[in-house]
Each structure stands twice: as C-alpha cells, then as structure tokens.
Amino acid sequence: MAAHDVMPDIELFQPITVEDASAIAARLDGAGWILAGGQDTYGWLKDRAKHPGAMIDLAAIEGINGINATASGISIGAMTTLRDVMRDPLIAEKFPILTQAAGRVASPQIRNQGTLGGNVAQDTRCWYYRRGLSCYRAGGNICYADSPEGMNREHALFGASRCVAVSPSDTATALVAVDATMVIHREGREKRVPAEQFFIGPAINITHMTVLRPGDILTHVEIPNTWANTESYFEKVADRDVWDFALVSIAAVMKTSGGVIDDARIVCGAVECVPRRLRSVEQALSGKPRNEQTADAVAGLASGGARTLNHNQFKVPLMENLVRRALRT
C-alpha cells in the first residue's frame, strides 16, 4: 500500500511561452509532465501511482488563457478555467451546452482551479488503473475491471478493446457535439484536430486517452459558429450532484425549422473511452419533429451494440432515457 507521506521531489519548469514549454518537454523526452490546473495530476501524485521526475507548469504562459470571439466562432485558451468558461456570456449565448457542461464539472473549488484543456485531456477514472495496478492501460496485460470479479459499474458499454475504461470529461461531450477543433502545438507547428478525433479509444492506443503525445501542448479549443445558437441540451447523471464523474451524460445540438429537426449532433459521455456520437439516432432524427413521439421512437437506437459488463447494465436504459429527455421540447 502506498504511503501518503510528503510530496516526492519533482523538478519544476515554469515556461512563459508555448515554444519554451514544448522545447522543455522535447528535451525531457516524455519524462516531463504537462501541468495545467493540476486537478487530475495531484491525484496521481498523492496516490504515488505515477512518478514524474519533472513538471512543466503552463500557468505562466500568456496567450493560452481567455475566451475570444473570432470571425468564425469562439476561441478558448486551453488554460482558461472551467469557472471562466461557465461564466462567459459569449459562450452562454452561443453554446449554452458548454456552459452547462463546464458548470457540472466536479465542484466550485475544482472549477476555479481546473482548466478546459486539463478537463478534456484528463486521464480515465477507472479505479483499478488510478490505484496503480499494472492493467492494460498502465502497460500491463490485463483489465481488472473486466475480470469476473471486477467492479465495473462506471465502465464502458461500447468500444472496449481489452480496456473498459471510459472518458470522464464533461466538457469533452459538449465540445464533440458542437464540432470543436483542438489546436495542438507539436514540434514547433500548429496541429488542428477535430474534437471527435482528439479522443482515442483503446483499440487505437490503450495507454492514451487523446492524441496528445509527450511534448504536445493543447493551446486552444476553437468552436465554429456552425452550431451556434441552435437548440441544445446537456444533462449529466452522477451519483452525487457535485464532485462526481458522470455515470452517463448527454450533449445534443439540433438545427430545427418549424419544430422539425434538420440536423443534429448527439453525444453521450461515460459510455465509451471516447465521447460517443449517437449517429444512428442523429440519422433517424432528420426530418422528424422534436417531440415526445420522436424521442420514444429513436431512443432505443442509442444503445444499439452495447455490451454490458457485470455491474453496468443500468447504463443502457439510462442512456436511452437521456436521449428521450434531450429530444423533448
């Protein structure tokens, strides 16, 4: 059992430019831990489950903090706190599901410190993995959560390839729904990745949750106006109202005309290692009125292909009911 004694020695770097941060990360060759708000990081350190030798604190870097209107939408610095995202009037006006998602992250104290970049890049909350066990995600050969005795109430319904962990991020679900783009600083260049491709499942890389690699720095999240001021819905179901991760969450945006849905993006959180687009539901909604009958007709499609584990069967009706709730007017 790990001893909760004092913080281990960690070399601290506090660069003031993204280029410096990236250069330090490159020099440390994967041994440098990128630190944003620290709300995911300090848990790892406290439990002695990860042991970074050096930390690169992004807090002093200007230009990756704050929310700006752009010609094509909104640009949010990755170091913008979740509190600022939640309280920003421009986001609230154009993309209320992001306001709601940010407002449902953890607790006020954590939102004051946690950043949007940190929230989307955070590691999974599977307790076997967080406890430091040598599971698949930690580079081992087994998934404890998916063993016959595994406690897997919070784990995946879809896309489990050996590992059954899920994405814990609330804002990720909303960002995929509004078709955001992640701007990454990689080896001196800017790389832009659609939010939907930013998150990766275990079939692609079992030890990473995102496309971020050592040395990469997520600098901004850009949201195009494509889904601005459309009808939207966000709901997160968790065991507690505050300071808890989603059992299932849903983020939906819909373009409607005369009460009829022309186009929609519906995304479920905490059912897969990545935010899950409900494409079959989206397709079925096209040309249908947004009402109770449509909701009932398409809700069952949401869970198609789900593979339940020993303790997470409840997520199937929960998912379907969240789709129903999202589609009611």
């Binding site: 040598s134 087994i142 079939a203 690699r213």
Partner: protein, 254 residues
Amino acid sequence: MEIVTVREDVWGREVLLGVSWDWLWVILALTFAAIVVHLLIMAVLRKQPRPSAAGKRLTRHDNFDRSFHWIMAISTLVLLFTGVLPIIGYDFNWLTIHWIAGLVLTGAVLLHVIRAVFFQDFGSMVVAPKDLKEPFEKGRKPGKYSLAQKGMHHAMTLLVLVVIGTGLVLFLQIDTPWWDRPNSLAESTLGWMFVLHGVSTLGLVGLTALHVYFALRPEKRFYTRSMISGWISEDEFSANHDPARWMPDETARS
C-alpha cells in the same frame, strides 16, 4: 537494458509484463550489421559467373507450395507490422487486423505441415549429417535445399510455432465474433505468454529481414524467381544442386 519488463504492483508484488521492446532496436541494429558484413564479404570475394536462366526449365516449387509460401509471407509481414508499429508509436486500430492475419498464418502453417509430412518429401528439409560438410567442402552441392536454407527454415519454423502457440492463447482472451473476452487467464501466465510472443516476434523481425535480404541477393535471385514462377533453369540446377540428391521430378514449360 532489461530482458523483460517487470512492474511492481501496489502491493509490492512483481508482475511480469513481457519482453523489453528496447531489444527491437538491438535486433534491428544486429540484423543491419550482419547484412553490411555480408555485403562487404561478398564485395571482396571474386564474383562467380552466374548460371544462365535460359534453356530448359525445371520445376522447383509447384503452385500449391508457392501459394502457401506467399500467404505465410504476407500474413507474417502483416503480423509484424501490426504488432510492432503501435509499439514504436504509430497509432491505428491494429488488433483486429493482427488476429485475422494470425489466423491466416495458423491455417497456412497447419496445411503446410500436413502437406509436407504426408504428401511431400519430408526428408528434403531434414538436416542430415552429410549436410554439415557443405560449408567446408568446396564443390559439394546440396539436394533441393542447402544447409543455409534448411537452417533458415527450421529457425523460422520454431519462431512461427512459438508465436502462433502464444498468439492463440492471447487470441482466446480478446473479443472476437465467436466469443466475448473471458479475461480469465492469470496475470503471471499472461506475462509469460507475452514474453514468449515478444521474443519470437523479435526473432522473426531479424530473420524476416535476413530472409528478404538473401532473396534479393543477385546470386540467390533465381530462388526468389522460382518461388514466384515455380522454375529454375537446367543451368541453375546443375550449378547449385547435386542431381544425385535431388532431381526435379517434372519438367516445367520452357
């Protein structure tokens, strides 16, 4: 550099994870060095006149065997690339391709073994005591396969059988269209499976690279041609093989 990777779990117990993939670079470096050394030796040695490909064509490999060879070759290459690329940082959905290629290789090897043992001249691939004199007696010619070819075949056989055996055990642990992942194997057993699977993979990386190198060597290229089109010329046959030990039983179309 460690031979295997071991991790200490939260209770302080050592957990065997698999082979250390740092060895991949060692194997690649050694293979590259071996190829360079061979290239230098061959450059220093006086070039022998090469036998002509013209004239009567003799069958060396029939269609069935050539098909098996290329199916095994392609599936092995797919297995190596899908297995190794994610380790060195190329992310893609590799597992499904990997196990499908593994099943293809398993089937091809199984059929090849049955055919070689029951329907072909199994002895032609067995290393006999007289084969061992081959490298030391100038002018001594082999039967259908040289000592080097037999050695390569047997080394490949051993590695492929280990990689298939361990691969099948690991295959039973994942989701497939026929069963759901049982996740039932003990962690220590899995660790040993990954060690053996990894060691045999490393060996196959080196041997496959050497095999491809020799297949491309100018003086060996007629063997590669025979694995594509099936024939060697009478001149190539008499320059490289002892008719007393192997006589092609069929004349190919010239």
